[in-house]
């Protein structure tokens, strides 16, 4: 614009050109050397001690120089191919859900803004499960305490020490209920739950089955015991058969009285309902672990007019039994039932051990709460399972 103004009109004057100044050519810029990116150092992969296995702990140190944006941990299994496990800003990571006794190798990349630097691989390391799990020590101590109480009370019962057990109304009714079946000439239906043998409630139920069977032998009442689980069925059958034999009536045992029905939950409920309405048992025992079928069976049993005694430790099903059955054994009462009914020293000892075990835990709860509240020390950590 200025040049146009200057070069146009009458006022324009000739400006003498200035002599050109020779300048040296500018030197080529020297490229900066690439930054040295240092990798993480001293990577250590270790099996986590005293655990259930499947876990490895990986630790490393930051690079000797420079601050990475993050680290990328990679792992290679048996196939030898490295795959990314995680991205983290920390210098430690615990890899879980690994297979035990499979060698794994690890490496860590330090990621910078201008690139990344990979560490060398670790030596192969394997996760393994350990015999001693220190994190579960409170469980071991609890079992030891309970076991000691158990032995003490069993010995006391064997020595003839009178062990008092208060009246449990649901169990006092067992005798009356079987007596009623005798008077009416109708059978007793015993359902040992719908769970498998590893359930504590099933084990308790099978103990009670023996006592109920003993009374049916005495009163000469037919017992019907349908089963949902094949292993529970085999054991239930042996228990009833043994009871008949031990009571001197092996001939009275009906092999068809204890039978396997079906492993499906609601098909089993439909079948038991059918037995209830067709056989019209005078007494129905629903003992053990139950799920959604509990109300179906308990309601049908109630509609037939039978005396129903139920027992379970399933908190979700207890309300249904309480509403639909005449007597319900709640949780601990189920475990106490066989000892209460049998009055054998061995079983009474277990019942007393349960009781005093509860007392010990009650005392621990109160004392540890007082310690925690008044001293500020986290006493709950002493019983924490990791």
């Amino acid at each position: 614009m200025l040049a146009v103004l200057v070069g146009s009109g009458a006022m324009a004057q000739e400006i003498p050109a200035e002599p050109a100044i020779e300048t040296a050519p500018e030197p080529e810029p020297i490229p900066e050397p690439p930054p040295v990116l240092h990798p993480p150092r001293n990577i250590v992969a270790q099996d986590v001690p005293h655990d259930n296995g499947g876990v490895l702990n990986i630790q490393w140190e930051p690079p000797i120089e420079g601050v990475p944006v993050r680290y990328v941990l990679e792992m290679a299994g048996e196939d030898g191919f490295f795959q990314e496990v995680t991205r983290t800003a920390l210098t430690q990571y615990t890899v879980m859900q690994l297979e035990n006794f499979v060698p794994y190798r690890f490496r860590v990349a330090a990621v910078y803004e201008k690139g990344q630097s990979m560490s060398p691989e670790t030596e192969p390391v394997m996760a393994r499960d350990h015999w001693l799990k220190l994190g579960e020590m409170p469980v071991l101590i609890a079992i030891f305490v309970f076991g000691s109480l158990l032995l003490f009370f069993i010995q006391a019962a064997r020595r003839g020490v009178e062990l008092f057990v208060r009246r449990i109304s649901g169990l006092t009714a067992v005798e009356d209920a079987i007596g009623r079946a005798t008077e009416m000439g109708k059978p007793v239906l015993y359902v040992p739950g719908t769970s498998t043998i590893e359930d504590v409630a099933t084990l308790a139920s099978l103990n009670i089955l023996g006592e109920v069977a003993r009374r049916t032998v005495h009163y000469d009442v037919k017992i019907i015991c349908p089963n949902k689980d094949p292993i529970v069925y085999t054991i239930a059958r042996e228990i009833v058969k043994e009871t008949y034999a031990s009571e001197g009536r092996p001939d009275a045992f009906d092999p068809d009285s204890v039978f396997f029905m079906v492993p499906d939950q609601f098909a089993f409920a439909a079948g038991v309902d059918g037995i209830m309405v067709r056989e019209q048992p005078a007494t129905i025992f629903l003992m053990g672990m139950f799920w959604a079928e509990s109300l179906i069976m308990a309601e049908t049993g109630a509609s037939t007019g039978a005396i129903q005694i139920a027992g379970t430790d399933s908190v979700a099903q207890l309300p249904f039994f309480i509403t639909a059955c005449d007597y319900t054994l709640i949780g601990e009462e189920l475990y106490a039932a066989s000892a209460y009914l049998g009055r054998e020293p061995m079983l009474l000892g277990t019942l007393k051990a349960q009781d005093y075990g509860k007392l010990v835990f009650l005392i621990i709860m109160v004392v540890f709460t007082l310690i925690s509240v008044f001293s500020g020390y986290d006493a709950a950590s002493l019983v924490r399972v990791r």
């Binding site: 609890a142 084990l203 499906d264 059918g274 009462e333 709460t369 925690s372 509240v373 709950a380």
Partner: protein, 229 residues
């Protein structure tokens, strides 16, 4: 064709649903038919499931693989290693399991006690530590109050409520003493607490069951009769 087939199965399902519902009136031939069909189908289905999910992968395939390895590479001690995918070691537990069948042979039926003893011992050993861990030690830890439970009034209220009702409930389930004297009111609070918990659980579960019944009615009125869109 597929439409006809679909309609056929909907009719079967609807009629079976009605047959089962008829039990609400009284035991009848329709319910009995549906019941026996249900039990039969469920047993057949379970046997098939066990065959494909248990028998084949745990018994047949390991032995078949071991046979192939034996014929290809000859004998190696790895064929007896139970941790290998293909091994002959599996024959040992199979033989123990087969003892269940001895109950059909009276002269050797006592042998059924061997697998029963192993099963009971094994599962009891699993159940006891697991029960101690989940039902006792973890509950004990959760029940212990700490100073942080006294940070605010609402936390204090709920913390103390849980603590005291836990103590009362434990006392209710103490069988070694009569519920007399001081124990009587405490144990009554305990059973009251339990019943309050059951009441809440009852309401929650009934809601879930009603939703199941609604699902069945929707099937009947929508998929079968088509009177609901």
């Amino acid at each position: 064709m597929s439409m006809i087939l679909e309609a056929f199965w909907i009719w079967i399902a609807a009629l079976l649903t009605l047959a089962i519902f008829s039990f609400l009136w009284k035991d009848n031939v329709f319910y009995r038919t549906a019941e026996h069909l249900y039990i039969g189908v469920a047993n057949g289905y379970s046997i098939t499931l066990i065959y494909y999910n248990v028998v084949l992968p745990n018994m047949v395939y390991p032995i078949r693989g071991a046979n192939q390895a034996l014929s290809a590479d000859g004998f190696s001690w790895g064929l007896l290693n139970p941790f290998n995918d293909h091994n002959y070691f599996i024959i040992l537990p199979m033989m123990v399991g087969a003892l269940y069948i001895t109950r059909f042979i009276p002269s050797v039926s006592w042998m059924i006690r061997i697998p029963i003893g192993i099963t009971m011992g094994y599962y009891t050993a699993i159940a006891i530590p697991a029960s101690f861990k989940a039902s006792i030690v973890r509950q004990l830890e959760a029940s212990i109050l700490t100073r942080s439970d006294f940070d605010s009034w609402s936390v204090v209220f709920y913390g103390l409520l849980i603590f005291l009702t836990t103590v009362a409930t434990l006392i209710y389930f103490f069988f070694s003493a009569e519920h007399k004297g001081a124990l009587k009111p405490i144990s009554e609070i305990g059973i009251l607490t339990v019943m309050v918990g059951f009441g809440a659980s009852f309401g929650l579960t009934v809601m879930a069951r009603i939703s199941l019944a609604i699902g069945r009615f929707i099937f009947l009125f929508k998929d079968w009769l088509g009177v609901v869109s």
